[in-house]
């Protein structure tokens, strides 16, 4: 008699089996091992949180760039701005004529960055939050609000009764004429009013250019629920009043345009843009709000990419932990899986059930991580905005909001990583034979894949070297993304991780004679001499964290050394003067000629340089344009040349009209070389300059074009200065001079040479603060990973532990053996990571940094911090291993089945 041939399970039946395995087996294990499950979940969540918080903080910093005018107008359709300097407001009449009858609202804007006055003891640069002063035509704004029937009143707010309070009006409302006739009347944000206890009628001190201004609050900026929240540090002033206060009569930063609703998004909108462009001629360029926002993103993209990639470190180690934990679960449940297989569960169903576990872990970790990340982002956003302020543009964002896109990205990254990490253990689970384990019990040794470590590791290393030689990917705005450099680092770490597992064998061999007289050490060493895949994974994870941290330590030390040498060379003057309102990289406050000429002509000043600095928009991106006395720099040997000019006319004002020198970052960004021509758009028309030399400048990653100030002032039609460098006459005490100048000019920041050098180094270190925080998270997660790895190893060896106890080993003996094993793993990971960090440091210095920022750094290997890192990791690793060993020694003995 024959029976029917068995049929293959159908899909529906298969999913039911997977579901059953998950709910009846896997989920119950999770519930039984609640603490372990929670720990794994938290570790994954930490990785996701680090990644998510940095993304949110970056987004908040960039978003703040765009939101200033949106809160008072609404989304504008076009923006007209001069490529260099300001627009003249005479253009408004021409635009009005050209756009007559088109229904276009024209909004002229002057935007300046001011600062609150310095407290008497305060000496730090960039320590005060920037205040954005937005000059707008308030009458036009109120008309616009009335026409659109918005409940937005600029001129009816009352004195002594701020709008955020619900008290009854105490005095007559501020009317239109009173405000317009009061040149210091300003509107502040509701948040500023609340936090600084400001009311309508309160006074507010502010530093702008070289002056300290006393402003009066005449109202709170009216907000609307359908528009972005008003940023805290935004102040709105009537346009003519701000032009007067800033000494910029007749000048505008930009003009924004609101098109009629029927035109938006139609070809007619482009026709209007063409009209505006035609009217502006060479005086301005038209941008859309999107392209303006992109400018902010482009400016910081290198910085943001670096932070994002660093934040992935914690996630990377988190993935390893998921892999390791799921793999350990497969090992622990081998006999159970074998039973399932014996009962007829197919390998595919086992695979799916384990992948489902990884998937659910990813979702739970992702959700928990996004919540934690949002909390972390509130702290991270301050650090990020400090760096953005110091290096890129004014931002005063203090909170990061949840963002749906970022949340989905973080959760899907967590899920993808988790499933990826769970795939290999799931495949191994599926391969477990049904019968063998049931007969051999826990002693059955799972066959480990015979990875030829050197054979795999070496090509990865070679690939890392090849990738480091690849050119960067060009980004919008002249930026570069060093993809080859990052891939080189990744491949190098992978290769190093694979090869470094072999160190365990070597260490085991070397340590054998030293351990032969101690049972514990001998036992621990015997495990090192025959490392399992789990040992190697633990070494690789530690190597990854130590190599990345060590690489960053080398990069930062090299950076610090280079910057330190650079400032020693370039900061030669006794005193440096700038507006005290310049608290960010894009604060272009000026010193009027009357002020600076009075200072530089003092008898106790023997030599001086007067510099004018302003942003310039070239076709490929924004750079910094600097007009200075080149002969002064040459006299005081202040250039660190990469290519010294051979044409000495560059130092003579009468001869250098068509010459310029550029920074290294400029040449890296735009690919220019000495002798190349540059076209510079100015209010006086295009100026064609020839690059005469290239110098190092670690203060600006966008790139600097340096020309003689006499010519720049003429082109820009201004006599203002941005900074002064002063050399005191022989016998003059710079501190006394500083004190005198401070008294005479309270709106100016006057710094001694030493103070400025110290401040430069402080700001430099501050910009790396978040980097260290991210590295710390990576190290912490990998140390916890070492602990869980050892715990898994001990669980696998539960029978061995029972045997050891039966042989008379005490918990101390067992802990000691485990500590030796853990120390060896930590030592190999840390030592391999140390070696790797030197290679990684080289990639960061010569590839990633060079391609992203365009700076040549002096390589520096700081021995002490690196040794401290290695010792710290080994010590923490040993301690973790000791604790795990103590725990392992108390595992209950196997019972009779």
């Amino acid at each position: 008699m024959t029976t029917a041939r068995p049929s293959l399970p159908k899909n529906a039946a298969q999913s039911a089996v997977v579901r059953t395995i998950f709910t009846r087996v896997i989920w119950r294990h999770w519930k039984q091992e609640t603490r372990r499950s929670l720990l794994l979940l938290i570790l994954l969540a930490i990785g996701v949180a680090a990644f998510f918080s940095i993304r949110l903080a970056n987004r908040a910093a960039v978003a703040s760039f765009a939101s200033f005018t949106n809160v008072v107008t609404k989304q504008t359709d076009a923006i007209l701005a001069a490529p260099v300097g300001n627009l003249s407001d005479s253009i408004l009449e021409e635009l009005g004529t050209a756009l007559k009858g088109d229904g276009v609202e024209i909004i002229p804007i002057l935007e300046l960055v001011a600062a609150t006055p310095r407290l008497s003891q305060e000496t730090k640069l960039n320590s005060r939050p920037p205040i954005t002063l937005l000059g707008l035509d308030l009458v036009a704004l109120q008309n616009l609000a009335d026409r659109e029937e918005q409940d937005r009143k600029w001129f009816s707010q009352t004195k002594a009764a701020p709008s955020h309070q619900t008290t009854e009006p105490q005095a007559a409302p501020n009317d239109l004429w009173r405000i317009l006739n009061q040149p210091n009347a300003v509107f502040c944000s509701e948040t500023m009013a609340r936090e600084d206890s400001l009311n309508v009628g309160s006074n507010l001190s502010m530093v702008l250019n070289d002056k300290q201004l006393e402003l009066e609050i005449c109202g709170i900026i009216p907000g609307r629920s359908d528009q972005p929240a008003v940023p805290r540090n935004l102040i709105i002033v009537d346009l003519p009043a701000l032009q007067h206060l800033a000494g910029k009569q007749g000048l505008l930063d930009r003009i924004e345009f609101l098109f009629p609703p029927a035109v938006k998004g139609t070809p007619a909108a482009q026709t209007l843009i063409d009209k505006i462009e035609k009217t502006a001629g060479g005086r301005g360029r038209v941008k859309t709000p999107e392209s303006r926002r992109e400018t902010a993103a482009v400016m910081t993209q290198g910085f943001q990419l670096n932070l994002t990639i660093l934040s992935l470190l914690a996630l990377l180690v988190g993935i390893y932990l998921i892999f390791q934990s799921l793999d350990a679960a497969v090992v622990r449940r081998r006999s159970e899986i074998a039973t399932l297989r014996a009962l007829g569960v197919t390998p595919r169903e086992i695979l799916y059930a384990w992948v489902l576990e990884a998937l659910i872990l990813g979702i739970a970790g992702g959700v928990l991580g996004t919540f934690g990340g949002w909390l972390l982002a509130q702290g991270a956003v301050r650090v990020v905005s400090t760096t953005v302020n110091a290096l890129y543009y004014a931002t005063n964002v203090t909170a990061a909001e949840l963002h749906l896109g970022e949340t989905l990205l973080a959760i899907s990254t967590a899920v993808a990583c988790s499933v990826l990490a769970g795939w290999l253990p799931a495949s191994r689970a599926a391969l477990i034979p049904p019968a063998q384990l049931l007969t051999r019990g826990m002693d059955a040794k799972e066959p480990e894949p015979q990875l030829r470590h050197i054979v795999w590791g070496t090509p990865l290393f070679l690939a890392a070297i090849g990738l480091a030689l690849l050119p960067p990917i060009a980004l919008k705005g002249g930026g570069h993304f060093p993809l080859g450099g990052y891939l080189s680092a990744l491949f190098g770490i992978l290769g190093g991780g694979i090869i470094t597992g072999e160190f365990l064998l070597l260490l085991g061999f070397v340590a054998a004679p030293l351990t032969k007289n101690s049972a514990s050490l001998k036992l621990g060493n015997s495990h090192i001499s025959q490392p399992t895949g789990r040992h190697r994974w633990a070494v690789a994870a530690l190597l990854c964290a130590v190599a990345m941290t060590g690489g960053m330590i080398i990069l930062v030390a090299s950076f610090e050394k280079s910057v330190s040498l650079w400032i020693q060379h370039t900061l030669q003057a006794d005193l440096y003067v700038t507006s005290d309102a310049n608290q960010t990289a894009t604060s272009y406050n000026r010193i009027p000629e009357a002020t600076w000429s009075a200072i530089v002509t003092q008898t106790d000043i023997s030599d001086s340089d007067v510099a004018l600095i302003l942003p310039a928009e070239l076709p490929n991106g924004t750079v910094r344009l600097m007009g200075t006395n080149l002969a002064f720099y040459e006299r005081h040997n202040q250039f660190t040349w990469l290519q010294k000019p051979t044409d000495h006319r560059i130092y003579q004002t009468s001869e250098n009209t068509a010459l310029c020198i550029v920074s290294e970052a400029f040449t890296e960004r735009f690919g220019n070389r000495v002798g190349d021509p540059l076209e510079l758009p100015t209010p006086l028309g295009k100026q064609t300059l020839t690059i005469a030399g290239i110098y190092s400048d670690y203060g600006d990653e966008k790139g600097v074009i340096m020309v003689d100030r006499t010519h720049l002032s003429r082109w820009m039609n201004t006599t203002d200065a941005s900074t002064l460098s002063l050399i005191a006459s022989p016998g003059t005490d710079p501190l006394r001079l500083q004190s005198e100048l401070r008294q005479r000019h309270p709106g100016l920041a006057i710094l001694t040479n030493t103070h400025l050098r110290n401040e430069v180094m402080r700001i430099f270190r501050q910009t790396f603060a978040i980097t260290y925080a991210l590295e710390g998270i990576g190290i912490l997660v990998s140390l916890v990973g070492l602990g869980t790895t050892l715990a898994s190893i001990l669980l696998e060896r539960k029978n061995e532990l029972t045997t050891l106890r039966a042989l008379g080993m005490t918990p101390r003996h067992i802990a000691f053996a485990t500590a030796w094993e853990g120390s060896a793993i930590a030592f190999c990971g840390a030592f391999g990571g140390l070696l790797m960090s030197i290679g990684l440091g080289a990639v960061l210095i010569y590839v990633v940094n060079k391609q992203t920022f365009g700076w040549t750094l002096q390589p520096m290997v700081p021995v002490r911090p690196l040794l401290a890192l290695v010792c710290g990791v080994v010590l923490c690793g040993s301690l973790t291993a000791w604790c795990v060993g103590r725990w392992g020694s108390t595992l209950p003995a196997d019972r009779e089945p």
């Binding site: 826990m442 080993m809 003995a893 089945p897």
Partner: protein, 223 residues
């Protein structure tokens, strides 16, 4: 009458799922071989674990060479196991990363015996159990019979007063099983070591002087 090596009095032990040992009492003399039999789950291994000091009974007394194991702390228990007890397991439980010789020497190393004496005693036992030619092999390279010989050598190397053997032939074929039993008998006779043998096998019972049958956590017969 020879001296008492082990005396258990009213040993009780429960786990979450219920009582496993219900007032077990027994005596074992020097050089005596005692077979402990019974169906799976009757509490044999738990009793062995309690006698070996790996697990603690809930109540009752276990006197090993006059010391009450139930009153000793973890360190003293470990010390008793190290000096007075030898263990043999069904699945051998050799330390996988140590060679055959190192496995056998291991208990001596725990007792701080000098290396020279360790290797001499190990070499002698290796010869005695017939696996001197595999001294440097790792356990994974051995057959089941060879592994159990190593386990026996390891259990005897430190000259314990009591050998606890949990199904020592349970994982061996009948030929190897018979050889191992014969070896155990010879060696325990030579050294006058007491042997407590947990087994299901009639052949194993035959090498013992006495047999105790357990059922549901209590002694059913003592013959």
């Amino acid at each position: 009458m020879s001296a008492i090596v082990l005396e258990c009095r009213e040993i009780c032990k429960s786990y979450d799922q219920g009582p496993v040992l219900r007032g077990v009492s027994m005596l074992l003399h020097e050089g005596e071989r005692l077979a402990l039999t019974g169906p799976s789950g009757c509490g044999k291994t738990t009793l062995l674990n309690c006698i070996g000091g790996i697990d603690r009974p809930d109540s009752g007394q276990i006197q090993l060479l006059g010391h009450d194991l139930t009153t000793l702390n973890a360190l003293l228990l470990a010390s008793m196991r190290r000096q007075k007890i030898g263990n043999i397991f069904q699945f051998f439980h050799l330390l996988p990363t140590l060679s055959v010789q190192e496995n056998i020497e291991f208990p001596l190393q725990l007792l701080d015996i000098p290396p020279k004496e360790r290797s001499e005693r190990a070499a002698a036992l290796l010869e005695r159990v017939g696996i001197a030619h595999r001294a440097q092999a790792l356990p994974a390279k051995l057959s089941g019979g060879e592994m159990q010989r190593v386990a026996i050598a390891r259990a005897l190397i430190h000259r314990p007063a009591l050998i606890l053997a949990d199904e020592p032939t349970g994982n061996l074929d009948s030929h190897n099983g018979a050889n191992i039993l014969a070896l155990l008998k010879e060696l325990t006779e030579e050294t006058s070591t007491a042997l407590l043998l947990v087994t299901h096998s009639a052949e194993a019972t035959q090498i013992c002087h006495r047999r105790i049958a357990m059922r549901d956590g209590a002694i059913a017969h003592d013959e």
